[in-house]
């Protein structure tokens, strides 16, 4: 991937100087080697820490929503005529812009409240994959050059090909270039290979119902209900999540395993027509629950039934928010 850091910093500085944005959400170098972490830049001096590379994992649309909501809540105490509008700049790759489109379609904020700095993306490194290929050795330092990760680990130096540790959702990414942007940095990235994106799902569907249930229970037993997936997901922005509701209490707070299953089942179902397959939930999951198996199924159903891909365009509204008289009715029970 071409190095766009300098250009990104230049643009960020200019935008801050011209007061086009109040804050820019981007990535900076992480505190651990070979990581990148989300950061907020509100002065020109800070703009020098911005980076964008193959280690940037999290979907930044989540922070855009959080910042705007917090700002709007804080403005509630201000007289209407004194209210200030804040414009959030965001460094956005393909999946981030898809999430932003979902927010805009769901009328979470206006298009003028967010300034999208589009960046091309060739996929990111899956930390769990990387750790596996390094046999869990501690990473001390490393660089990425020309599709090769040169990594210094506690167990000696290693070279890993980027294509071996790329996140599985990036391999089949359909929208790796920003769909909407106010400014575009770098040249568009080459297309990924989305042809076989549902091959695993098709395989899983062929399994017997007992096998599928056994896999679901096995995966959900790993879940410790830390809610990290919900916190990282840009589509999970309810002011009060159903998990925390007590009247009615949807999900019991004990360690009953059916409560975990119900929680996961409902959180996954909330993603109908809203999951952009950014992989944020999977990357933050401390227990390595296979959420993607289920999220991708929901995505597949949406394409099959309604011909809609989450956040693929501003015009294509969320599938569950509309209807068609020609919708399939094959599931209706007729005695």
């Amino acid at each position: 991937m071409e190095n766009i850091d300098t250009k990104l910093r230049e643009v960020a500085k200019r935008l801050l100087l011209e007061k086009k944005v109040d804050v820019i959400i981007g990535y900076e170098k992480g505190t651990l080697p070979m990581t990148a972490t989300p950061c907020f830049v509100s002065t020109e001096a800070e703009a020098d820490k911005l980076v964008f590379n193959d280690l940037c994992t999290q979907n930044l649309a989540k922070f855009v929503h959080d910042l705007i909501t917090n700002h709007k809540n804080s403005q509630k105490r201000v007289k209407p005529e004194d209210r200030k509008k804040k414009i959030i700049g965001v460094v956005a790759r393909g999946c981030t812009t898809r999430s932003l489109i979902i927010h805009l379609q769901e009328r979470q904020y206006g298009r003028d409240e967010v300034y999208i700095i589009g960046v091309p993306c060739e996929g990111y490194v899956d930390r769990k994959n990387l750790a596996k290929s390094l046999q869990q050795a501690e990473i001390l330092d490393g660089t990425i050059e020309g599709g090769q990760l040169k990594i210094k680990t506690a167990a000696g130096d290693k070279t890993v090909a980027f294509k071996d540790v790329i996140a599985p959702n990036c391999v089949v990414c359909r929208f790796n270039n920003p769909i909407i942007s106010d400014i575009m940095i770098g040249s568009p990235a080459p297309a990924m290979n989305p042809d076989n994106e549902y091959s695993k799902i098709n395989e899983f569907e062929k399994k017997s119902i007992e096998e599928r249930w056994a896999y679901f229970t096995k995966e959900m037993e790993k879940c410790i209900r830390c809610n990290a997936c919900r916190q990282a997901c840009p589509s999970c922005y309810c002011p009060t999540c159903f998990v925390e509701q007590s009247q009615p209490q949807w999900v019991g707070i004990g360690e009953d395993k059916t409560d975990t299953q119900v929680f996961q089942c409902m959180r996954l179902y909330h993603m109908v027509g809203r999951c952009v397959d950014c992989g944020s939930c999977i990357s933050v999951c401390p227990m390595g629950v296979d959420l993607r198996n289920y999220l991708k199924k929901i995505d597949k159903d949406c394409v099959e039934l309604f011909g809609s891909r989450a956040g693929s365009s501003m015009e294509d509204m969320p599938p569950l928010g509309k209807y068609s008289e020609q919708d399939k009715e094959d599931f209706i029970f007729n005695p």
């Binding site: 007992e210 059916t258 089942c265 209706i332």
Partner: protein, 146 residues
């Protein structure tokens, strides 16, 4: 022996979430017309199928229902014009998803019964009860209380 007895005397519990304007009136008509149907069904009345949160269905299954039936007005006959059309999309994806995770598809049923179809309502209940009976008691995602 005791197990066999329990098996023989087992009757499924079915939760029927029905809309006020069509299916509930249909159920009423079935009652007024003295049409016999299995007593396994517990009816919950909601204003419209569009009002049904998919959580209700999952929560009913977790809470011990052996089957869940959702029924509303026929498409195009909704009291709120489009409530059931929006609901249809929700149910199509929910049914597929529940089947995918491994819950039997026959435990969640969706159908349309209009206010004049007392006969059809009885048929639907007969059909659903027979299907759920064939599946046996629900064991998956069932919360044990106590």
């Amino acid at each position: 022996m005791a197990e066999n007895l329990a098996k023989e005397s087992w009757e499924p519990k079915i939760v029927a979430i029905v809309c006020n304007w069509c299916t509930y009136a249909g159920a009423d008509l079935a009652g007024i017309s003295r049409i016999q149907y299995p007593p396994n069904v517990r009816i919950i009345r909601v204003p419209c199928t569009g009002r049904i949160n998919p959580f209700y269905i999952v929560k009913a299954l977790q809470g011990g229902a052996d089957g869940v039936l959702v029924s509303g007005c026929h498409p195009g006959e909704c009291h709120y014009i489009t409530g059931n059309l929006v609901a249809r999309r929700k149910f199509a994806t929910l049914k597929r998803f529940l089947n995918y995770i491994g819950l039997e598809g026959d435990r969640t049923m969706f159908t349309w019964v209009s206010a004049s179809e007392g006969d059809r309502f009885a048929q639907v209940i007969r059909g659903v009860t027979a299907k759920v009976k064939a599946l046996g008691p629900a064991k998956k995602m069932l919360k044990k209380i106590g």
